[in-house]
């Protein structure tokens, strides 16, 4: 009985460490495989979609960390501008949406959080680039940026539709298999 909290703590840490490995692998897939696909497939926001699904299905904290860190790491590696800021804003929006607007753990709620987060991500990035352009006097095609932002949102919707159900099922299976049911949900989920 005394060992129970320690086992739960160890299990929680191991699971989250495995999610971090999955995170690194997802980023490699995003910048390697997905970015090598032709238009419009290369715009598929794999890291964002995974982050939203994890936030909605597994843990608000983990999902928010996923969204923030993905933007931060991609920008730190020089693979995009304004991604860190957009990631932070999108994480905030995703947490707010999952808590107060799409609070149910249904597929449609997941889709709602996904659309809201993707939209926020795109808008935040465009706003960031707008300010960035003013200060750096560089050339940015905002028409194309908005156009591609729409594609990113559509791709996110498509991604959740296609992979969302499978990933949800896998996450729930792994949770029930390796950790007791419901144990991994953290503070913020409404009961």
């Amino acid at each position: 009985m005394d060992n129970a909290p320690r086992v739960a703590t160890t299990g929680l840490m191991i699971t989250n460490a495995l999610y971090a490995v999955l995170f690194v692998f997802t980023l490699a897939l995003q910048t390697g495989a997905v970015a090598s696909l032709p238009e419009p497939y290369r715009l598929f926001p794999l890291a964002l979609v995974m982050g939203v699904i994890i936030l909605h299905e597994r843990s608000l904290v983990l999902g928010a960390l996923w969204l923030v860190m993905s933007g931060f790491i991609l920008e730190a590696r020089g693979l995009g501008d304004g991604l860190a800021f957009a990631g932070i804003v999108a994480a905030g929006a995703a947490v707010t949406l999952a808590l107060s607007v799409f609070a149910k753990r249904s597929f449609w709620a997941l889709l709602g959080v996904g659309i809201g987060t993707a939209l926020t991500f795109v808008i935040a990035r465009i706003l960031w680039l707008f300010v960035w352009v003013i200060f750096t006097r560089t050339h940015v095609q905002f028409g194309s940026l908005i156009e591609q932002g729409v594609v990113v949102v559509l791709m996110a919707i498509l991604g959740i539709f296609i992979f969302g159900a499978y990933i949800r099922r896998f996450l729930r299976w792994s949770r029930d298999k390796f950790v007791s049911k419901g144990q991994l949900y953290d503070i913020s989920f409404p009961q």
Partner: protein, 271 residues
């Protein structure tokens, strides 16, 4: 309103989640400082890029609409017409052809001094005009070096160099400015800048310069960073307004950047 779980238990779980997740990422980041691990991981990433590029090329072939074939045919017809016009100046162009051949030979000779690199990641932003390569300062890579593909075709410039990696800014990047020359009757000098998509624009072409569709654009080497004679693209349209001090030419790249995974980085001339 929704109720929430006990805050102390929740805070403990949140702290554990954050600690474990960020801890692994921190360990990974520290491992990436070790060149042996970084090389190993970059090899995996390069493999992922190769697989993605292969899948992407297959997808491109499958999803390419038939209409684009018709478009390509029309473009070929237009190109043939332009070539027919240019054939009248064949004699004078022959000199440029010889010069170009010499430049290509020159580019071939420089291969020995170049560093072969692989793309390990591509930019995820809207224009995708940056790639990460698996060579850095430890391999002697220098900022400002030219990255070439194929038989001396300019792919981009090394923008930033790190320990084992470097960022290459593609020619089509909006921040790209490359001194260039148009090979035609006379050697016309200008500045090639990136524009939306794969389109480039050559600015500051003197009004009296004669150039036309199909002319080859190469680097002029005037900035001292890029070698002379690296192929940039073909002129597709010349915009000449009498009141303007300069002409403008639209240039089309000869390649699809997404399809290339191996680059040769040439150090700045004189090094």
């Amino acid at each position: 309103m929704a109720k929430f779980r006990s805050s102390s238990e929740g805070a403990r779980k949140a702290a554990l989640t954050t600690g474990a997740f960020l801890g692994v990422i921190l360990v990974f980041w520290l491992l990436m400082r070790v060149s042996g691990f970084a090389r190993f991981y970059e090899r995996i990433e390069a493999g992922v890029v190769r697989v993605g590029t292969g899948v992407g090329n297959s997808v491109s072939r499958v999803t390419k609409p038939e209409q684009s074939l018709a478009t390509q045919f029309l473009a070929c017809q237009e190109s043939t017409r332009a070539l027919a016009i240019n054939s009248s100046s064949y004699e004078s162009l022959q000199r440029e052809v010889q010069e170009l051949r010499a430049l290509v030979d020159y580019a071939n000779r420089t291969e020995a001094a170049g560093i072969v690199t692989h793309v390990v990641a591509r930019a995820v932003d809207d224009d995708a005009t940056r790639v990460l390569i698996d060579r850095g300062t430890l391999d002697g890579l220098q900022q400002g070096s030219a990255a070439v593909i194929d038989d001396g075709v300019l792919f981009g410039m090394v923008e930033e160099v790190r320990g084992t990696t470097a960022i290459v800014r593609l020619v089509a990047n909006a921040q790209s400015n490359i001194p260039a020359a148009v090979l035609g009757k006379q050697r016309t000098i200008g500045l090639v800048e990136g524009r939306e998509g794969a389109l480039l624009v050559m600015e500051f072409i003197p009004q009296d310069a004669e150039l036309g569709n199909g002319n080859l654009v190469v680097t002029s080497g005037l900035d001292g960073l890029v070698r002379e004679g690296l192929v940039i693209g073909l002129v597709t349209e010349v915009v000449s307004v009498e009141s303007a001090p300069f002409q403008q030419a639209f240039i089309e790249l000869l390649y699809e950047p997404r399809e290339w995974t191996t680059l040769l980085v040439l150090p700045p001339p004189g090094l």
